[in-house]
């Protein structure tokens, strides 16, 4: 496997994709801890579909894809957050409606103008080749920002994730934190979409955390384990994708499924042993 990885690293475009992919996976898995535990998993899914719609429109209108998709996704994330908090309309149904709607609009716009070309196909299922060097630079900078913010706000993020009522009472502006979480997630989703595809990006947010939660009991260990799972899943997925010439996004998700099952089995074995 070392040889395969060395061979992969001899292609500059692959190196670029791997660096960006690693950073995005790391961001997604860290943000995922809060999103999943706050029951916001659906927001990641909704965002990816909105992101697809935005990218499709950008490609038709000849706008740089990320400059349109990032603001649109951030706006959508606030909307999704409001929806999930709202008790009047069913939050999950509203999110499902928005994501299907955005996807449909994207497909309509594309099919009525340029037709379903490789670009659009790539946004759906991901392609590491679609990453330009300008995109890569932007991705690296934004991922770094997400990582630094995550570390600096770690204690407060824990409090807001664990108990909003208590956090509010101690003076933490929980709404601002939710908004920040949504913004950072939108950025991560848009960046990761190029590689994973709109249909698979939310798995980067959800899988590593759920896998880590099988084994981890503390918040810190779940967070760290989730980051490790994300990185391992990404690297293995890329190798699988390279060796079998499979789409990168689907390969990474499949590796994540295997990791999840392994952790679940380990958890079951541990439970059986401790009960005896």
């Amino acid at each position: 496997m070392i040889d395969t990885i060395r061979e992969m690293l001899s292609y500059p475009f692959l190196v670029r994709a791997i660096v960006v992919g690693l950073l995005v996976s790391l961001c997604a898995s860290l943000l995922g801890v809060s999103l999943v535990l706050k029951r916001f998993s659906m927001i990641g899914d909704g965002l990816s579909h909105v992101g697809f719609g935005a990218l499709a429109i950008a490609s038709v209108a000849n706008i740089a894809p990320l400059t349109l998709a990032i603001p649109v996704c951030i706006a959508a994330s606030f909307l999704l957050l409001r929806m999930s908090e709202s008790t009047r309309i069913k939050g999950d149904a509203a999110i499902a409606m928005l994501s299907a709607g955005a996807l449909a609009i994207g497909v309509m716009v594309v099919s009525m103008t340029t037709g379903m070309n490789t670009d659009v196909y790539n946004y759906m299922f991901g392609s590491i080749l679609s990453l330009s060097s300008a995109d890569a630079t932007l991705s690296i900078v934004l991922s770094a920002v997400v990582l630094v913010l995550f570390v600096l706000f770690y204690p407060r993020l824990f409090a807001v994730t664990f108990d909003e009522s208590f956090s509010r009472a101690t003076g933490i502006p929980t709404r601002a934190y939710n908004a920040a979480l949504a913004t950072l997630s939108s950025i991560t989703v848009v960046l990761g979409m190029r590689m994973m595809g709109a249909l698979l990006i939310s798995s980067l947010i959800i899988f590593p955390v759920l896998t880590a939660m099988r084994i981890g009991k503390k918040y810190l260990s779940v967070t760290l384990l989730s980051a490790v799972v994300a990185i391992v899943g990404f690297i293995l997925g890329m190798v699988v994708s390279y060796v079998y010439e499979a789409p990168s996004g689907a390969s990474i998700v499949c590796v994540n499924i295997v990791l999840f099952l392994l952790f679940a089995i380990a958890d079951a074995i541990r439970n059986a042993v401790t009960k005896k």
Binding site: L37, K38, R39, V151, L152, F153, Y154, P155, R156, F158, A159, F162, D163, S165, F166, S167, R168, A169, T170, G171, I172, M213, G216, K217, K218, Y219, L220, S221, V222
Partner: protein, 235 residues
């Protein structure tokens, strides 16, 4: 000066009065129980005391250097917390957030304070245990320790025994009384349990969208409203 003084306060939601005519004081070392049916304005009043909702009328004044941020708050437990991956220590440590200031990470004193509070609620042997694997009573103790980590003066407990079995509830009451008596922490407890008002607390505030009763728990047991609320229990 009183620790907490509420004068003629009223709260509104969407232009409708939720609770009006609130007049009571909380002195140092008091143990006040706020009782009333669901929707009687208890939770709204708690939000007001915590500074999360401004009174529509009247005033809430803190004394003895207390501010709303230095209240130790034990909210009602939420479903999503039950499977949350966190250790007891992590949970209690988050109680010291109000003294974090602009620093990004906890200081050594904050960590020491957290351990002290864990010891106070008798959870030291379980400090590394997973929160989600604790019993309901143990979870509540951990959350009480978190509230204690946030305050030296005033605890506000919102239905602290709501989801506990009778044995765990009795334990919790004993612990709260001990903290109030031995450690000089003032307690304001919201409850729909008449027993708590009549026998655990020193004074009672009975709400029904307005203030029906405020006085000592002994007087409450003798009062009309107290007798009605306590049913056969009051004499």
């Amino acid at each position: 000066m009183s620790l907490l003084q509420v004068q003629n306060a009223a709260f509104r939601y969407d232009g409708k009065d939720v609770v009006t005519g609130l007049n009571f004081t909380v002195e140092h070392c008091d143990y006040l129980c706020i009782v009333g049916e669901n929707g009687s304005g208890k939770s709204t009043l708690v939000k007001g005391l915590l500074g999360l909702k401004a009174p529509h009328n009247g005033t809430i004044t803190f004394g003895e250097g207390l501010t709303a941020r230095q209240i130790g708050y034990l909210p009602q437990q939420k479903e999503s917390q039950r499977d949350f991956p966190a250790s007891v220590q992590e949970v209690v440590l988050s109680g010291t957030l109000n003294s974090l200031g602009v620093r990004p990470f906890y200081t050594r004193e904050q960590k020491k304070n957290a351990l002290t509070q864990i010891e106070r609620v008798g959870m030291l042997p379980l400090k590394n245990a997973a929160f989600r694997e604790l019993s309901g009573g143990q979870q509540q103790r951990a959350l009480l320790a978190r509230a204690l980590a946030a305050t030296k003066m005033l605890l506000i407990l919102d239905e602290p025994i709501a989801s506990l079995d009778p044995v765990a509830a009795a334990d919790m009451y004993r612990l709260i009384e001990e903290i109030n008596r031995d450690h000089g922490v003032t307690v304001v407890m919201v409850s729909h349990d008449p027993h708590a008002a009549a026998h655990e607390a020193k004074s009672v505030l009975h709400l029904e969208n307005r203030q029906l009763f405020y006085g000592t728990s002994a007087d409450y047991r003798k009062s009309e409203i107290g007798k009605r609320f306590l049913g056969g229990e009051g004499r």
